[in-house]
């Protein structure tokens, strides 16, 4: 780019959709920060077994004598506990990394299931119309008329704790958002000329949905997905905090916060605060991303 403002082309001819996307996305520094933070958090979460100082699940590595040490303290074996230890002498940094991993795993897999199922339902609803549409959308309405956390709690109380059950509960409370949004954009796309042209070209219905309608519904879908990812992380944390989510053997961030809750007033703040900050940072970064995506796809904000 030259220094004259007019020299900047409005449209580069060789550019791919992804390039255009990035150029527009990166116009907000906060959004880039959110993306980078999210990627770092996901990376450290999934690399936790490699980078964590100890395995918090392995009781052999946990020294009960080191319990409730403040951040920066030196343990009995000479190791430094950067974020201190909890009531059982577990290294908080390791617990936090593994907790982050559990949180992301549950949030991402429930999001994936909800996304695929909800998108499918939305597409079928929009394209089939008539009673199929009415049926699916009434289910969505009923689903969405209950508070999310309430439905999730009811499911967890019914089925009990566990990773698979948490993922299931989160998917159940989220699919309706995808279904409703995909249906709305698919209805718009369905009446576009290119879909009519595909019908005239005798393109089979499934292919029209998959190749023509779905790709054009993706931008709003991405916005919903990024919003829902943040909400999945926080719902899971709430459930685990209340003792309804993840099993004790695989503590997520919510349960770590809950574990330290009783020590908070006793001055041993770090047991709760460190996972609390990690959770806050995760939801904050995801929100920055989803805000940017939402703005990008809002035609009223286009310059």
């Amino acid at each position: 780019m030259t220094s004259t403002p007019l020299a900047r082309p409005t449209m580069r001819f060789s550019e791919r959709p992804l390039g255009r996307f990035w150029r527009e996305y990166s116009q907000s520094h906060a959004a880039v920060f959110g993306l980078v933070m999210t990627l770092i958090l996901i990376a450290v979460a999934f690399l936790a077994p490699l980078i964590a100082p100890q395995d918090p699940y392995d009781l052999m590595q946990v020294d009960f004598m080191d319990s409730e040490l403040p951040p920066g303290a030196i343990g009995g074996a000479g190791q430094t506990y950067v974020l201190g230890t909890d009531a059982n002498g577990r290294d908080m940094l390791s617990a936090l990394l593994f907790g982050l991993r559990a949180s992301f795993m549950v949030a991402l897999s429930s999001l994936g299931i909800a996304l695929v199922f909800g998108t499918l339902m939305g597409l079928v609803s929009a394209y089939a119309g008539r009673w199929v549409d009415s049926l699916i959308m009434r289910i969505v309405d009923i689903q969405m008329s209950f508070p999310t956390i309430l439905v999730a709690m009811m499911l967890m109380v019914t089925f009990g704790r566990g990773i698979d059950k948490t993922i299931f509960a989160l998917a159940v409370v989220q699919w309706a958002y995808f279904a409703r949004n995909v249906r709305a954009s698919a209805l718009v796309e369905r009446s576009r000329e290119y879909v009519l042209a595909a019908q005239l070209a005798q393109v089979p219905t499934f292919r029209i949905l998959w190749r023509h309608i779905l790709p054009n519904c993706l931008p709003p879908l991405m916005v919903i997905a990024s919003i829902q990812l943040a909400s999945a992380v926080s719902i899971e944390a709430s459930l685990s905090f209340l003792g309804l989510g993840m099993p004790v053997t695989q503590p997520s961030l919510g349960m770590l916060i809950s574990n330290g809750f009783g020590y908070l007033l006793g001055g041993k703040y770090w047991i709760s605060v460190a996972p609390g900050i990690a959770l806050g940072l995760t939801v904050f970064s995801l929100s920055l991303m989803s805000d940017r995506l939402r703005d990008m796809f809002n035609p009223r904000l286009k310059r």
């Binding site: 290119y194 009519l196 042209a197 070209a201 005798q202 219905t205 190749r211 023509h212 790709p215």
Partner: protein, 334 residues
């Protein structure tokens, strides 16, 4: 109306009617029961008994103001929608099977509105999709085929890897034409296909249409509000007003000697260089709402030749030979 007996009839429409609006549902019925009042929304009568035949090799122009039902007619022609009344056949077969169009040989070119081409597909995918699906083309021959098609519509073959947003309106319309031609159609319905283009580009695209007609022996139904465009290309012309045909006949004759007062008003007001100082006399009044159609001849609210009897009954097409119109007043004076 009937073209020469020698010419094979491709498309035939009989008594096409279309009414937009939802049916009374159980809520409406309940309300009517309690309050004794109809609550189902008013209906729009878009088409009121249109008959049409399209012979092989012919260019039929369909003219009319916006809202006269010409786009609805176009969609019904190719089988994109079921008209609420009447029959549409192509080579003697219905144009629809279920809710989908049936004939691959019958295609449509839409007005360029930026969404005629799927924005997520490259030019070669846009053009090649149909032919590959229908076995007209092997996947490995895609690039040669697309290059060929692009050349046919006067575009460089190296644009095949680009996306639709990288082209101007005229270029997009050429790509769209290439996409339709790749399906090897026989009949093409053009719905305002050049309306969104600049005049110079319009001329290019129209010439392209005519070249392709000669090369591939195509048949066109050309829907437009622009009489200048229709004069340029049509063999036969149909003038529509509020869902009815008011005049039809060989294009040269209709333009030289318009009979129906509506056609006359349209032609007198078409801008022309030879009459650049003319003060335009707009057709007085507004197009009546199709929600509330005037009784009798729909044009009587704006007609200069209006007589009391015009609001009584709907006039049928009359006149001798191919040139027919729906004005009994003109017919009586002739």
């Amino acid at each position: 109306m009937t073209p020469d007996a020698k010419i094979e009839t491709l498309l035939e429409m009989q008594g096409i009617e279309h009414v937009f609006g939802r049916r009374e549902d159980w809520v409406d019925k309940g309300v009517r029961l309690i309050r004794g009042k109809r609550t189902a929304p008013a209906r729009v009568r878009a088409l009121n008994g249109v008959d049409l035949t399209l012979g092989k090799g012919e260019v039929l122009g369909i003219a009319g103001e916006s809202g006269c039902g010409k786009s609805t007619l176009g969609r019904a022609m190719v089988g994109l929608m079921h008209p609420t009344g009447g029959s549409v056949t192509y080579r003697g077969q219905p144009v629809m099977r279920g809710r989908r169009p049936l004939h691959l040989k019958l295609q449509m070119i839409f007005q360029d509105s930026g969404s005629v081409l799927n924005p997520r597909l490259r030019v070669k995918e846009l053009i090649g999709e149909g032919p590959i699906l229908h076995g007209l083309l092997a996947r490995r021959d895609l690039e040669d085929f697309v290059a060929d098609q692009l050349e046919t519509v006067g575009m460089a073959p190296d644009v095949m890897n680009r996306y639709p947003h990288q082209f101007s309106g005229g270029q997009r319309q050429r790509i769209n034409v290439a996409r339709v031609l790749a399906l090897r159609p026989e009949t093409i319905v053009c719905d305002e296909s050049v309306a969104a283009l600049d005049v110079s580009i319009q001329a290019q695209i129209l010439n392209l249409f005519m070249d392709l007609k000669d090369r591939f022996g195509l048949t066109y139904a050309f829907i437009s509000h622009d009489l200048g465009v229709l004069r340029h290309i049509s063999d036969r012309i149909m003038v529509m007003y509020l869902g009815r045909v008011v005049e039809e006949g060989p294009a040269a004759e209709v333009f030289a000697n318009p009979r129906h007062p509506y056609t006359r008003a349209l032609l007198e007001n078409a801008p022309r260089l030879s009459r650049r100082n003319q003060i335009f006399q707009a057709v007085p009044g507004e197009v009546p709402s199709p929600l509330n159609m005037p009784s009798g001849c729909a044009f009587h609210t704006r007609c200069a030749l209006r007589r009391p009897e015009c609001s009584l009954s709907v006039p049928n097409l009359m006149g001798t030979g191919a040139h027919r119109h729906a004005c009994p007043i003109v017919e009586a004076a002739a």
